[in-house]
Protein backbone atom coordinates (compact mmCIF):
# COMPACT_ATOMS: atom_id res chain seq x y z
CA UNK A 1 0.00 0.00 0.00
CA UNK A 2 1.56 3.29 -1.02
CA UNK A 3 -0.46 5.73 1.06
CA UNK A 4 -3.63 7.67 0.55
CA UNK A 5 -3.03 9.04 -2.96
CA UNK A 6 -2.22 5.58 -4.16
CA UNK A 7 -5.49 4.30 -2.69
CA UNK A 8 -7.46 7.04 -4.42
CA UNK A 9 -5.98 6.30 -7.81
CA UNK A 10 -6.47 2.57 -7.26
CA UNK A 11 -10.11 3.28 -6.35
CA UNK A 12 -10.57 5.20 -9.61
CA UNK A 13 -8.97 2.27 -11.37
CA UNK A 14 -11.51 -0.15 -9.87
CA UNK A 15 -14.39 2.15 -10.80
CA UNK A 16 -13.15 2.74 -14.33
CA UNK A 17 -12.51 -0.95 -14.96
CA UNK A 18 -15.89 -1.93 -13.48
CA UNK A 19 -14.01 -4.39 -11.30
CA UNK A 20 -16.12 -7.57 -10.99
CA UNK A 21 -15.77 -7.74 -7.20
CA UNK A 22 -16.89 -4.11 -6.91
CA UNK A 23 -19.86 -4.53 -9.25
CA UNK A 24 -20.84 -7.77 -7.51
CA UNK A 25 -20.98 -6.02 -4.15
CA UNK A 26 -22.88 -3.02 -5.54
CA UNK A 27 -25.30 -5.36 -7.33
CA UNK A 28 -26.06 -7.35 -4.19
CA UNK A 29 -26.50 -4.13 -2.18
CA UNK A 30 -29.02 -2.80 -4.67
CA UNK A 31 -30.85 -6.12 -4.89
CA UNK A 32 -31.15 -6.55 -1.11
CA UNK A 33 -32.18 -2.94 -0.41
CA UNK A 34 -34.57 -2.84 -3.35
CA UNK A 35 -36.14 -6.12 -2.23
CA UNK A 36 -36.55 -4.74 1.29
CA UNK A 37 -38.05 -1.48 0.00
CA UNK A 38 -40.55 -3.25 -2.26
CA UNK A 39 -41.58 -5.58 0.56
CA UNK A 40 -41.86 -2.71 3.04
CA UNK A 41 -43.99 -0.69 0.58
CA UNK A 42 -46.26 -3.64 -0.15
CA UNK A 43 -46.92 -4.05 3.57
CA UNK A 44 -46.44 -0.51 4.87
CA UNK A 45 -48.50 1.51 2.39
CA UNK A 46 -51.76 -0.40 2.94
CA UNK A 47 -51.05 -0.37 6.69
CA UNK A 48 -50.43 3.39 6.69
CA UNK A 49 -53.54 4.02 4.57
CA UNK A 50 -55.63 1.85 6.87
CA UNK A 51 -54.36 3.76 9.93
CA UNK A 52 -55.27 7.02 8.18
CA UNK A 53 -58.79 6.09 7.13
CA UNK A 54 -60.16 3.34 9.37
CA UNK A 55 -61.35 3.83 12.92
CA UNK A 56 -60.67 0.93 15.29
CA UNK A 57 -59.61 0.57 18.94
CA UNK A 58 -55.84 0.74 19.43
CA UNK A 59 -55.35 2.72 16.23
CA UNK A 60 -53.66 5.64 17.99
CA UNK A 61 -51.32 3.33 19.90
CA UNK A 62 -50.37 1.44 16.73
CA UNK A 63 -49.67 4.71 14.90
CA UNK A 64 -47.50 5.93 17.79
CA UNK A 65 -45.57 2.64 17.88
CA UNK A 66 -44.87 2.81 14.16
CA UNK A 67 -43.66 6.39 14.46
CA UNK A 68 -41.38 5.37 17.33
CA UNK A 69 -39.96 2.50 15.25
CA UNK A 70 -38.82 4.98 12.57
CA UNK A 71 -35.73 5.52 14.71
CA UNK A 72 -35.05 1.82 15.38
CA UNK A 73 -31.25 1.32 15.50
CA UNK A 74 -30.22 -1.02 12.66
CA UNK A 75 -28.14 -3.24 15.00
CA UNK A 76 -31.22 -3.83 17.13
CA UNK A 77 -33.27 -4.75 14.05
CA UNK A 78 -30.42 -7.10 13.08
CA UNK A 79 -30.38 -8.61 16.55
CA UNK A 80 -34.14 -9.19 16.52
CA UNK A 81 -34.04 -10.91 13.12
CA UNK A 82 -30.96 -12.89 14.21
CA UNK A 83 -32.83 -14.24 17.25
CA UNK A 84 -35.72 -15.29 15.03
CA UNK A 85 -33.56 -16.96 12.38
CA UNK A 86 -30.75 -18.46 14.47
CA UNK A 87 -30.61 -22.27 14.78
CA UNK A 88 -32.43 -22.18 18.14
CA UNK A 89 -34.91 -19.47 17.07
CA UNK A 90 -38.52 -20.09 15.98
CA UNK A 91 -37.64 -19.72 12.28
CA UNK A 92 -34.27 -21.50 12.61
CA UNK A 93 -35.35 -24.60 10.62
CA UNK A 94 -35.76 -22.42 7.51
CA UNK A 95 -31.99 -22.05 7.39
CA UNK A 96 -32.17 -18.40 6.32
CA UNK A 97 -29.46 -16.97 8.56
CA UNK A 98 -26.44 -15.60 6.63
CA UNK A 99 -28.41 -15.48 3.34
CA UNK A 100 -29.50 -12.45 1.30
CA UNK A 101 -33.10 -13.31 2.26
CA UNK A 102 -32.26 -12.71 5.93
CA UNK A 103 -30.77 -9.36 4.96
CA UNK A 104 -33.95 -8.42 3.07
CA UNK A 105 -36.03 -9.32 6.14
CA UNK A 106 -33.86 -7.23 8.46
CA UNK A 107 -33.91 -4.18 6.18
CA UNK A 108 -37.66 -4.55 5.65
CA UNK A 109 -38.01 -4.17 9.41
CA UNK A 110 -36.08 -0.88 9.17
CA UNK A 111 -37.91 0.52 6.13
CA UNK A 112 -41.47 -0.51 6.99
CA UNK A 113 -42.02 2.03 9.82
CA UNK A 114 -40.77 4.87 7.61
CA UNK A 115 -43.05 3.96 4.73
CA UNK A 116 -46.07 3.28 6.96
CA UNK A 117 -45.72 6.46 9.00
CA UNK A 118 -45.22 8.74 5.98
CA UNK A 119 -48.12 7.07 4.15
CA UNK A 120 -50.39 7.52 7.16
CA UNK A 121 -49.53 11.20 7.46
CA UNK A 122 -50.11 11.95 3.78
CA UNK A 123 -53.25 9.89 3.34
CA UNK A 124 -54.79 11.28 6.55
CA UNK A 125 -54.37 14.85 5.29
CA UNK A 126 -55.88 13.97 1.91
CA UNK A 127 -58.70 12.06 3.57
CA UNK A 128 -59.67 15.14 5.59
CA UNK A 129 -59.85 17.13 2.39
CA UNK A 130 -61.55 14.61 0.08
CA UNK A 131 -63.84 12.72 2.48
CA UNK A 132 -67.05 14.71 1.86
CA UNK A 133 -66.45 14.89 -1.88
CA UNK A 134 -65.91 11.16 -2.20
CA UNK A 135 -68.88 10.35 -0.01
CA UNK A 136 -71.07 12.75 -1.99
CA UNK A 137 -70.02 10.87 -5.14
CA UNK A 138 -71.26 7.64 -3.55
CA UNK A 139 -67.86 6.17 -4.30
CA UNK A 140 -67.25 2.82 -2.65
CA UNK A 141 -64.66 2.53 0.13
CA UNK A 142 -62.08 0.81 -2.04
CA UNK A 143 -62.61 3.35 -4.82
CA UNK A 144 -62.15 6.16 -2.29
CA UNK A 145 -58.96 4.59 -0.92
CA UNK A 146 -57.63 4.19 -4.46
CA UNK A 147 -58.31 7.87 -5.12
CA UNK A 148 -56.38 8.85 -1.98
CA UNK A 149 -53.40 6.66 -2.87
CA UNK A 150 -53.23 7.96 -6.46
CA UNK A 151 -53.40 11.57 -5.31
CA UNK A 152 -50.71 10.89 -2.69
CA UNK A 153 -48.44 9.50 -5.43
CA UNK A 154 -45.59 12.01 -5.05
CA UNK A 155 -45.47 11.72 -1.28
CA UNK A 156 -45.63 7.93 -1.47
CA UNK A 157 -42.74 7.82 -3.96
CA UNK A 158 -40.81 10.10 -1.61
CA UNK A 159 -41.50 7.70 1.27
CA UNK A 160 -40.27 4.74 -0.78
CA UNK A 161 -37.09 6.60 -1.77
CA UNK A 162 -36.42 7.64 1.82
CA UNK A 163 -36.80 4.02 2.87
CA UNK A 164 -34.49 2.84 0.07
CA UNK A 165 -31.89 5.39 1.18
CA UNK A 166 -32.00 4.16 4.74
CA UNK A 167 -31.70 0.52 3.66
CA UNK A 168 -28.71 1.19 1.40
CA UNK A 169 -26.84 3.15 4.06
CA UNK A 170 -27.27 0.91 7.09
CA UNK A 171 -24.51 -1.46 8.26
CA UNK A 172 -25.58 -3.02 11.53
CA UNK A 173 -28.55 -5.14 10.47
CA UNK A 174 -26.98 -6.71 7.36
CA UNK A 175 -23.73 -7.30 9.21
CA UNK A 176 -25.47 -9.33 11.95
CA UNK A 177 -27.85 -11.40 9.83
CA UNK A 178 -25.75 -11.57 6.64
CA UNK A 179 -22.35 -12.20 8.17
CA UNK A 180 -20.46 -10.27 5.44
CA UNK A 181 -19.52 -13.42 3.53
CA UNK A 182 -17.56 -12.67 0.36
CA UNK A 183 -19.54 -13.23 -2.87
CA UNK A 184 -22.59 -14.27 -0.81
CA UNK A 185 -23.74 -11.63 1.64
CA UNK A 186 -21.15 -8.86 1.34
CA UNK A 187 -22.76 -5.51 0.55
CA UNK A 188 -21.31 -2.01 0.15
CA UNK A 189 -21.48 -0.91 3.78
CA UNK A 190 -20.17 -4.13 5.30
CA UNK A 191 -17.41 -4.33 2.67
CA UNK A 192 -16.32 -0.77 3.43
CA UNK A 193 -16.14 -1.55 7.15
CA UNK A 194 -14.12 -4.71 6.55
CA UNK A 195 -11.73 -3.32 3.92
CA UNK A 196 -11.04 -0.23 6.02
CA UNK A 197 -10.22 -2.30 9.08
CA UNK A 198 -7.87 -4.41 6.96
CA UNK A 199 -6.21 -1.23 5.64
CA UNK A 200 -7.31 -2.04 2.04
CA UNK A 201 -8.48 1.46 1.24
CA UNK A 202 -8.88 1.22 -2.54
CA UNK A 203 -12.02 -0.95 -2.61
CA UNK A 204 -13.40 0.88 0.45
CA UNK A 205 -12.97 4.24 -1.25
CA UNK A 206 -14.47 3.04 -4.53
CA UNK A 207 -17.52 1.59 -2.75
CA UNK A 208 -17.79 4.73 -0.65
CA UNK A 209 -17.89 6.84 -3.81
CA UNK A 210 -20.67 4.67 -5.30
CA UNK A 211 -22.65 4.83 -2.04
CA UNK A 212 -22.35 8.62 -1.82
CA UNK A 213 -23.37 8.99 -5.47
CA UNK A 214 -26.44 6.77 -4.97
CA UNK A 215 -27.39 8.61 -1.80
CA UNK A 216 -27.08 11.98 -3.55
CA UNK A 217 -29.19 10.67 -6.43
CA UNK A 218 -31.92 9.48 -4.06
CA UNK A 219 -32.01 12.71 -2.09
CA UNK A 220 -32.02 14.75 -5.28
CA UNK A 221 -35.02 12.78 -6.48
CA UNK A 222 -36.74 13.29 -3.12
CA UNK A 223 -36.15 17.05 -3.28
CA UNK A 224 -37.48 17.18 -6.85
CA UNK A 225 -40.59 15.23 -5.92
CA UNK A 226 -41.16 17.40 -2.87
CA UNK A 227 -41.01 20.49 -5.07
CA UNK A 228 -43.52 18.94 -7.39
CA UNK A 229 -45.77 17.80 -4.54
CA UNK A 230 -45.77 21.24 -2.95
CA UNK A 231 -46.05 23.10 -6.24
CA UNK A 232 -49.19 25.00 -7.29
CA UNK A 233 -50.52 22.11 -9.35
CA UNK A 234 -50.51 19.70 -6.46
CA UNK A 235 -50.62 21.46 -3.09
Amino acid sequence: MDGFSGAVSAAFGLLAALDPELTGIVGLSLAVSLGATVTACALGMPLGALLAVARFPGRGLLAAMISALMGLPPVVAGLAVYLMLSASGPLGPLGLLYTPTAMVIAQTLLVLPIVAALTRETVAALHDEYDELLRSMNAGRMFALGTLLVDARFALTTAALAGFGRALAEVGAVMIVGGNIAHATRVMTTAIALETSKGELALALALGAVLVALSALIHGAVALLRNRAEGPAHA
Partner: protein
Protein backbone atom coordinates in the same frame (compact mmCIF):
# COMPACT_ATOMS: atom_id res chain seq x y z
CA UNK B 1 -83.33 6.42 4.30
CA UNK B 2 -83.06 4.21 1.30
CA UNK B 3 -81.97 4.96 -2.19
CA UNK B 4 -85.07 3.33 -3.61
CA UNK B 5 -87.28 5.82 -1.81
CA UNK B 6 -87.57 8.37 -4.53
CA UNK B 7 -89.30 11.66 -4.88
CA UNK B 8 -91.82 11.72 -7.69
CA UNK B 9 -90.39 14.17 -10.19
CA UNK B 10 -93.77 15.63 -11.07
CA UNK B 11 -96.32 14.71 -8.44
CA UNK B 12 -99.88 15.05 -9.56
CA UNK B 13 -99.07 14.42 -13.19
CA UNK B 14 -101.68 12.23 -14.79
CA UNK B 15 -100.91 8.85 -16.23
CA UNK B 16 -101.01 8.82 -20.04
CA UNK B 17 -104.39 8.16 -21.66
CA UNK B 18 -106.47 9.54 -18.84
CA UNK B 19 -109.10 12.16 -19.28
CA UNK B 20 -108.83 15.34 -17.32
CA UNK B 21 -112.01 14.82 -15.28
CA UNK B 22 -111.34 11.24 -14.20
CA UNK B 23 -108.38 11.30 -11.86
CA UNK B 24 -107.97 7.57 -11.26
CA UNK B 25 -104.58 8.21 -9.69
CA UNK B 26 -105.02 10.41 -6.65
CA UNK B 27 -103.16 13.68 -7.14
CA UNK B 28 -101.02 14.94 -4.33
CA UNK B 29 -101.88 18.39 -3.11
CA UNK B 30 -98.22 19.09 -2.34
CA UNK B 31 -94.95 17.42 -3.20
CA UNK B 32 -93.75 14.88 -0.68
CA UNK B 33 -91.25 16.58 1.60
CA UNK B 34 -87.59 15.86 0.92
CA UNK B 35 -86.80 16.59 4.55
CA UNK B 36 -89.52 16.18 7.16
CA UNK B 37 -89.17 17.21 10.79
CA UNK B 38 -85.38 16.90 10.61
CA UNK B 39 -83.55 17.56 13.86
CA UNK B 40 -79.78 17.66 14.11
CA UNK B 41 -78.09 18.06 17.48
CA UNK B 42 -74.48 19.02 18.03
CA UNK B 43 -73.17 19.59 21.52
CA UNK B 44 -76.62 20.27 22.94
CA UNK B 45 -77.54 22.80 20.22
CA UNK B 46 -80.30 22.12 17.74
CA UNK B 47 -78.63 23.06 14.46
CA UNK B 48 -81.63 21.79 12.52
CA UNK B 49 -84.82 22.08 14.51
CA UNK B 50 -87.72 20.30 12.90
CA UNK B 51 -86.86 21.36 9.37
CA UNK B 52 -89.31 20.38 6.63
CA UNK B 53 -88.37 21.11 3.04
CA UNK B 54 -90.71 20.47 0.14
CA UNK B 55 -89.04 20.59 -3.24
CA UNK B 56 -91.29 20.83 -6.28
CA UNK B 57 -89.24 18.41 -8.36
CA UNK B 58 -88.14 20.88 -10.99
CA UNK B 59 -86.74 24.38 -11.40
CA UNK B 60 -84.46 26.25 -9.02
CA UNK B 61 -85.18 26.64 -5.34
CA UNK B 62 -83.03 29.09 -3.36
CA UNK B 63 -82.34 28.53 0.33
CA UNK B 64 -81.79 31.86 2.05
CA UNK B 65 -81.21 32.84 5.63
CA UNK B 66 -78.58 34.23 7.99
CA UNK B 67 -75.34 32.42 8.82
CA UNK B 68 -76.00 29.51 11.11
CA UNK B 69 -79.57 29.05 9.86
CA UNK B 70 -78.64 25.53 8.76
CA UNK B 71 -78.69 26.01 4.98
CA UNK B 72 -75.43 24.21 4.16
CA UNK B 73 -76.21 21.59 6.75
CA UNK B 74 -79.58 20.83 5.17
CA UNK B 75 -77.84 20.35 1.80
CA UNK B 76 -75.48 17.90 3.48
CA UNK B 77 -78.41 16.03 4.98
CA UNK B 78 -80.08 15.85 1.54
CA UNK B 79 -76.83 14.58 0.01
CA UNK B 80 -76.61 11.87 2.65
CA UNK B 81 -73.37 13.22 4.15
CA UNK B 82 -74.91 13.96 7.55
CA UNK B 83 -77.40 11.71 9.28
CA UNK B 84 -80.05 13.58 11.25
CA UNK B 85 -80.89 12.67 14.83
CA UNK B 86 -84.63 12.77 14.15
CA UNK B 87 -86.91 13.10 11.16
CA UNK B 88 -87.31 11.71 7.66
CA UNK B 89 -85.03 12.13 4.69
CA UNK B 90 -86.57 11.09 1.40
CA UNK B 91 -83.31 10.63 -0.32
CA UNK B 92 -82.41 10.27 -3.92
CA UNK B 93 -78.80 10.14 -2.78
CA UNK B 94 -77.62 8.13 -5.73
CA UNK B 95 -78.94 10.79 -8.10
CA UNK B 96 -77.96 13.76 -5.94
CA UNK B 97 -74.85 15.85 -6.52
CA UNK B 98 -73.39 18.48 -4.23
CA UNK B 99 -71.15 21.39 -5.24
CA UNK B 100 -69.23 22.84 -2.32
CA UNK B 101 -68.62 26.51 -1.64
CA UNK B 102 -64.89 25.90 -1.99
CA UNK B 103 -64.34 23.41 -4.81
CA UNK B 104 -62.44 20.27 -3.82
CA UNK B 105 -60.47 19.21 -6.88
CA UNK B 106 -58.26 16.15 -7.19
CA UNK B 107 -54.53 16.56 -7.75
CA UNK B 108 -54.87 15.59 -11.39
CA UNK B 109 -55.64 17.21 -14.72
CA UNK B 110 -59.04 18.73 -15.47
CA UNK B 111 -59.80 15.81 -17.77
CA UNK B 112 -58.73 13.27 -15.13
CA UNK B 113 -61.01 14.92 -12.55
CA UNK B 114 -63.99 14.41 -14.87
CA UNK B 115 -62.94 10.87 -15.75
CA UNK B 116 -62.66 10.07 -12.04
CA UNK B 117 -66.20 11.29 -11.39
CA UNK B 118 -67.51 9.21 -14.31
CA UNK B 119 -65.74 6.15 -12.94
CA UNK B 120 -67.22 6.84 -9.50
CA UNK B 121 -70.62 6.98 -11.22
CA UNK B 122 -69.85 3.60 -12.81
CA UNK B 123 -70.04 4.90 -16.37
CA UNK B 124 -68.64 2.19 -18.69
CA UNK B 125 -65.13 2.81 -19.96
CA UNK B 126 -66.02 3.16 -23.65
CA UNK B 127 -68.59 5.88 -22.91
CA UNK B 128 -66.28 7.96 -20.75
CA UNK B 129 -64.22 9.86 -23.37
CA UNK B 130 -67.41 11.10 -25.02
CA UNK B 131 -68.94 12.13 -21.71
CA UNK B 132 -65.71 13.88 -20.66
CA UNK B 133 -65.76 15.88 -23.91
CA UNK B 134 -69.41 16.75 -23.35
CA UNK B 135 -68.75 17.99 -19.80
CA UNK B 136 -65.66 19.94 -20.87
CA UNK B 137 -67.78 21.66 -23.50
CA UNK B 138 -70.56 22.43 -21.05
CA UNK B 139 -68.08 24.07 -18.67
CA UNK B 140 -66.19 25.85 -21.49
CA UNK B 141 -63.07 24.07 -20.24
CA UNK B 142 -61.90 22.46 -23.50
CA UNK B 143 -58.72 24.54 -23.67
CA UNK B 144 -57.81 23.64 -20.09
CA UNK B 145 -58.44 19.89 -20.29
CA UNK B 146 -54.82 18.91 -19.71
CA UNK B 147 -54.01 21.58 -17.13
CA UNK B 148 -53.61 20.53 -13.49
CA UNK B 149 -56.99 21.18 -11.87
CA UNK B 150 -55.40 22.70 -8.77
CA UNK B 151 -53.80 25.43 -10.89
CA UNK B 152 -57.13 26.74 -12.26
CA UNK B 153 -58.48 30.17 -11.32
CA UNK B 154 -61.35 30.33 -8.83
CA UNK B 155 -63.99 30.68 -11.54
CA UNK B 156 -62.57 27.88 -13.69
CA UNK B 157 -62.26 25.63 -10.65
CA UNK B 158 -65.92 26.16 -9.71
CA UNK B 159 -67.04 25.56 -13.33
CA UNK B 160 -65.11 22.29 -13.23
CA UNK B 161 -66.67 21.35 -9.87
CA UNK B 162 -70.12 22.06 -11.29
CA UNK B 163 -69.77 20.05 -14.49
CA UNK B 164 -68.07 17.27 -12.51
CA UNK B 165 -71.18 17.14 -10.32
CA UNK B 166 -73.18 16.49 -13.50
CA UNK B 167 -71.16 13.33 -14.23
CA UNK B 168 -73.78 11.19 -12.44
CA UNK B 169 -76.59 12.91 -14.40
CA UNK B 170 -78.17 13.93 -11.09
CA UNK B 171 -81.89 14.38 -10.60
CA UNK B 172 -81.12 16.83 -7.80
CA UNK B 173 -78.18 19.25 -7.92
CA UNK B 174 -77.28 20.99 -4.65
CA UNK B 175 -75.20 24.18 -4.90
CA UNK B 176 -73.73 25.53 -1.65
CA UNK B 177 -72.97 29.22 -2.27
CA UNK B 178 -71.18 28.34 -5.50
CA UNK B 179 -70.31 31.94 -6.35
CA UNK B 180 -69.44 33.20 -2.86
CA UNK B 181 -65.82 34.00 -3.73
CA UNK B 182 -66.11 34.67 -7.46
CA UNK B 183 -65.96 37.87 -9.52
CA UNK B 184 -69.05 39.03 -11.46
CA UNK B 185 -67.98 37.43 -14.72
CA UNK B 186 -67.28 34.03 -13.18
CA UNK B 187 -70.51 34.34 -11.21
CA UNK B 188 -72.46 34.94 -14.42
CA UNK B 189 -70.87 31.85 -16.00
CA UNK B 190 -71.89 29.67 -13.05
CA UNK B 191 -75.40 31.11 -13.06
CA UNK B 192 -75.82 30.45 -16.79
CA UNK B 193 -74.58 26.91 -16.32
CA UNK B 194 -76.92 26.22 -13.39
CA UNK B 195 -79.89 27.71 -15.26
CA UNK B 196 -79.11 25.50 -18.23
CA UNK B 197 -78.96 22.43 -15.97
CA UNK B 198 -82.33 23.34 -14.44
CA UNK B 199 -83.92 23.63 -17.89
CA UNK B 200 -83.18 19.97 -18.42
CA UNK B 201 -84.48 17.28 -16.09
CA UNK B 202 -82.43 18.31 -13.06
CA UNK B 203 -83.85 20.10 -10.07
CA UNK B 204 -81.50 22.66 -8.50
CA UNK B 205 -81.29 23.79 -4.88
CA UNK B 206 -79.09 26.84 -4.40
CA UNK B 207 -77.86 28.30 -1.12
CA UNK B 208 -77.24 32.01 -1.57
CA UNK B 209 -76.95 35.20 0.45
CA UNK B 210 -77.32 37.39 -2.59
CA UNK B 211 -80.92 38.60 -3.20
CA UNK B 212 -79.86 39.66 -6.69
CA UNK B 213 -78.74 36.13 -7.47
CA UNK B 214 -81.94 34.71 -5.99
CA UNK B 215 -83.99 37.09 -8.16
CA UNK B 216 -82.03 36.18 -11.31
CA UNK B 217 -82.10 32.44 -10.79
CA UNK B 218 -84.66 31.11 -8.37
CA UNK B 219 -88.25 30.14 -9.04
CA UNK B 220 -88.99 29.80 -5.34
CA UNK B 221 -87.29 30.76 -2.13
CA UNK B 222 -87.26 28.92 1.16
CA UNK B 223 -86.22 31.21 3.99
CA UNK B 224 -84.53 29.46 6.92
CA UNK B 225 -83.82 30.76 10.38
CA UNK B 226 -82.43 28.91 13.42
CA UNK B 227 -82.65 25.51 11.76
CA UNK B 228 -86.27 25.90 10.67
CA UNK B 229 -88.07 26.62 7.44
CA UNK B 230 -89.76 29.92 8.18
CA UNK B 231 -91.23 30.98 4.86
CA UNK B 232 -91.65 29.48 1.39
CA UNK B 233 -92.78 31.64 -1.51
CA UNK B 234 -92.29 32.34 -5.20
CA UNK B 235 -89.02 34.24 -5.59
CA UNK B 236 -90.41 37.55 -6.79
CA UNK B 237 -93.10 37.65 -4.12
CA UNK B 238 -90.65 36.79 -1.35
CA UNK B 239 -88.06 39.35 -2.35
CA UNK B 240 -90.72 42.00 -2.83
CA UNK B 241 -92.90 41.41 0.23
CA UNK B 242 -91.57 38.88 2.70
CA UNK B 243 -94.32 37.82 5.08
CA UNK B 244 -92.42 36.97 8.24
CA UNK B 245 -90.62 39.55 10.40
CA UNK B 246 -87.44 37.44 10.34
CA UNK B 247 -87.32 37.45 6.54
CA UNK B 248 -88.04 41.18 6.40
CA UNK B 249 -85.22 41.88 8.83
CA UNK B 250 -82.84 39.63 6.87
CA UNK B 251 -83.59 41.29 3.54
CA UNK B 252 -83.34 44.75 5.09
CA UNK B 253 -79.87 43.84 6.27
CA UNK B 254 -80.78 44.08 9.93
CA UNK B 255 -79.07 41.86 12.44
CA UNK B 256 -80.97 38.65 13.12
CA UNK B 257 -80.39 36.94 16.43
Amino acid sequence: MTEGDRILPFPGRRAPGETSDAPAIPTLPEPAPTLEGVVLLRGGRRLLDGLTLRLPGHGITALMGPNGAGKSLSLRVMAGLVRPDLGQVRSIAIATSLVFQRPVLLRRSVRANLDHALRAARVPRRERPGRVAELLGLGALEGLADQPARALSGGEAQRLALVRALAVRPRLLLLDEPTASLDPRSTAAIERLAARVAEEATEVVLVTHDPGQAARMADRIIFMHRGRDVETAPAAAFLDRPETPAARAYLDGRLLI
